[in-house]
């Protein structure tokens, strides 16, 4: 009996030893011999990739600002694709350098990496995948003016993990791509140069509606920023406190959105003053809120 147990222990120990050996062998198969030279090569690849990405970023942005406005956004669309290309090449080079990628090994590596990343970098990987999906689905592109959650602004860069948004206050907000899975993305220009600008005006009920409409149309038609090929529209709505007007028009360049709105408001107010048009009184607003 004792002999049997000893035999069993020996067999078990041997099989554990074999399994350990097998794992070591598999790891050795997957990971090629790591030498100082290979590490140096890996570092060189990383540095070169970083430099290339920086150069591409600067170059694409520079070119996009030099070409005619109508091509600006089209040029900027190349940015995420170039970045993705450089990153993919870098990853392939590094894997080729450190991993022995036979078909079996590839399956093993993919499985292991998937499990590891699934636990440790779930959100990060989700953002990367969303970024790749976003390249083709294009809920936003570089140069678009978008709103995600509370943030509105121009997409300045499209990174691996997220985008950088420049807000009207000149803050840069980084938003991960995985927001597109759950959040609504409101895009004002969808790759076009023009984005509609809505300028609001408020008047008392007794205001001459026709006169206000005529002034607002004129103000839009005579602004240096207005893109005249797209329609201009004035709509009005009665509110308890007064009459609410919206002037909908497009600037020549979506970037001029706020300066355009200011120009429309400034010039309109000058004409309103000339005609002595009445604004709603604060008292009415409080009473009818």
């Amino acid at each position: 009996m004792l002999l049997f147990f000893n035999l069993m222990n020996l067999i078990l120990a041997q099989s554990t030893d074999d399994a350990a050996k097998e794992t070591v062998e598999q790891t050795q198969q997957i990971i090629t011999e790591i030498t100082t030279w290979k590490i140096s090569q890996g570092l060189i690849v990383l540095v070169i990739s970083y430099i290339i990405i920086q150069v591409i970023d600067k170059l694409v942005i520079w070119v996009s600002e030099q070409v005619a406005k109508e091509w600006r956004l089209q040029v900027k669309q190349f940015l995420p694709f170039f970045r993705m290309m450089v990153l993919t090449i870098t990853i392939v080079l590094l894997m080729n350098l450190f991993l022995n990628l036979s078909r079996d090994n590839l399956v093993a590596v993919t499985g292991t990496v998937a499990v590891a990343l699934g636990f440790a970098f779930k959100d990060y990987v989700s953002s990367i995948i969303a970024g790749i999906v976003g390249l083709f689905e294009a809920p936003y592109r570089v140069g678009d003016r978008i709103q995600i959650g509370d943030y509105y602004g121009e997409v300045r860069s499209y990174g691996l993990r997220g985008i950088r948004l420049q807000t009207p206050e000149d803050n840069v907000v980084t938003i991960p791509h995985n927001k597109i899975w759950t959040n609504a993305v409101s895009n004002a220009n969808m790759g076009e140069l023009e984005a509609q600008v809505i300028t609001q005006f408020y008047f008392a009920h007794e205001v001459d509606v026709e006169l206000v409409k005529k002034i607002l149309y004129r103000v839009a038609y005579t602004s240096k920023y207005t893109y005249l090929k797209l329609p201009i529209l004035v709509i009005l709505e009665e509110k308890p406190w007064g009459t609410f007007f919206e002037l909908k028009s497009y600037p020549l360049d979506a970037r001029d959105e706020f300066i355009y709105k200011t120009d429309l408001t400034k010039r309109a107010k000058r004409v309103f003053a000339k005609y002595n048009l009445h604004y709603p009184r604060l008292l009415n607003m409080k009473d009818n809120r």
């Binding site: 406005k69 103000v219 038609y221 240096k224 005249l228 090929k229 004409v271």
Partner: protein, 392 residues
């Protein structure tokens, strides 16, 4: 593949100048319009400029204007109730359409024995609110009974003077829209710049109120050659350089013909642009003298390749200013600042820079675009979303 590469290489060689000219937009290069003239002895340069100013203003445009005018006028006269009672003559914003109209129509009206009522303006009223008042004063007929209405021709030499791109500045156009179709005993002849015309069509659909519009035809190479002939003869300008790069010209063609073919193409057949390019292309070749006795003798004038200068890099503010100038044809500084909605001091600074770059000219306080820059400027503005002109 090799064949394709060879063809691409040949194309590159053929177009290298054009490609390089597009790439280089150095500010230094924009000073070039005056380059050839400064190379000329100053006295000769000023003589040449004076001679160009004296060039006869009667040009082939007049014939086209007469024939179109006759056709439309007769149509209206035979049926004033239903036929269109106006003709619009469109020119580039750097052409003085008012001068062409005034000169050609006075002669035509004399021949046709029809009273002419031209708008006797030489520019836009300085106060915008006065545009409508002055239009009413000059063109208004008051209440006239149908029987007493005598047919007459009303001439607006330059429609751009009747508006300014500002809220109040379009009231002159409102007035014209009211009176154009009101009175069928009047035939209207309206001169307009193409950019301003396009703007008015987008803003107030002005085209709908007018009849046929005639674009002034482009001057051909033969017409330009004939026009410049007095200067070529007077200054003995030679065309012995064979570097006039222009496609579709035969080897056997004389250098002079090839020069004018290219001049007609690059100037888009507009005389004001052609004049500037012509002046820019003239170089002075000093006589090779062996002794000092011949020092007093003049060298010869040689025409180089006629080319457009490059535009400097322009920013958004400059685009807005230049578009406003093209839109109105000519503007004073206060009117320009009003049309832009910007402070006068800001606009003044920008204008100084544009004048230094040679893009804007100022004569007696009136700002205009230097005609030589018009072709490239038009393309640049069009590429930046500005409305330039869409041919029918």
């Amino acid at each position: 593949m090799g064949k394709l590469f060879n063809r691409f290489q040949a194309w590159l060689v053929d177009n290298r100048k054009l490609l390089l000219s597009r790439l280089s937009t150095d500010e230094k290069e924009t000073q070039e319009p005056e380059k050839s003239l400064t190379e000329l002895p100053p006295s000769l340069a000023s003589e040449l400029v004076v001679a160009v100013d004296k060039l006869p203003s009667d040009n082939p445009d007049v014939e086209v204007i007469y024939s179109t005018l006759n056709k439309n006028f007769e149509k209206w006269r035979s049926n004033p109730q239903t036929a269109d009672n106006s003709l619009v003559i469109l020119s580039s914003p750097v052409t003085t359409v008012s001068q062409i109209l005034t000169e050609s129509l006075s002669y035509w009206a004399l021949e046709s024995k029809i009273p002419l009522r031209p708008l006797q303006w030489t520019g836009r009223p300085s106060v915008v609110d006065d545009i409508t008042t002055k239009l009413r004063q000059q063109l208004g007929r008051g209440v006239v009974t149908t029987e007493s209405k005598r047919p007459e021709i009303v001439v607006i030499p330059n429609l751009s003077w009747c508006f300014l791109r500002s809220v109040d500045g379009l009231e002159g156009i409102d007035y014209l829209q009211d009176v154009l179709l009101q009175d069928d005993s009047r035939f209207w002849v309206i001169g307009a710049g193409k950019v301003g015309w396009e703007y008015l069509n987008h803003v107030s659909n002005f085209k709908a109120y007018c009849g046929e519009s005639l674009e002034l035809p482009r001057l051909t190479d033969e017409q330009l050659q004939e026009w410049f002939e007095p200067i070529i003869a007077e200054f003995d300008i030679t065309f012995n350089k064979s570097n006039f790069e222009f496609p579709n010209t035969e080897e056997s063609e004389s250098n002079q013909n090839r020069y004018f073919k290219k001049l007609a193409a690059v100037s888009e057949g507009v005389n004001t642009i052609a004049v500037q390019i012509f002046l820019r292309s003239i170089c002075y070749e000093p006589k090779e003298t062996e002794n000092e006795e011949n020092d007093g003798e003049l060298g010869s004038l040689v025409a180089e390749n006629p080319e457009l200068p490059n535009l400097p890099r322009l920013n958004a503010d400059e685009h807005y200013i230049l578009y406003s100038l093209l839109l109105h044809g000519d503007l004073t500084l206060p009117a320009l600042s009003e049309s832009l909605g910007d402070e006068k001091s800001f606009v003044k600074g920008k204008i100084q820079m544009l004048r230094r770059a040679g893009i804007v000219e100022q004569n007696n306080g009136i700002l205009t675009i230097n005609p030589i820059h018009y072709p490239r400027l038009k393309n640049e503005l069009s590429n930046n979303n500005f409305i330039i002109y869409e041919s029918d």
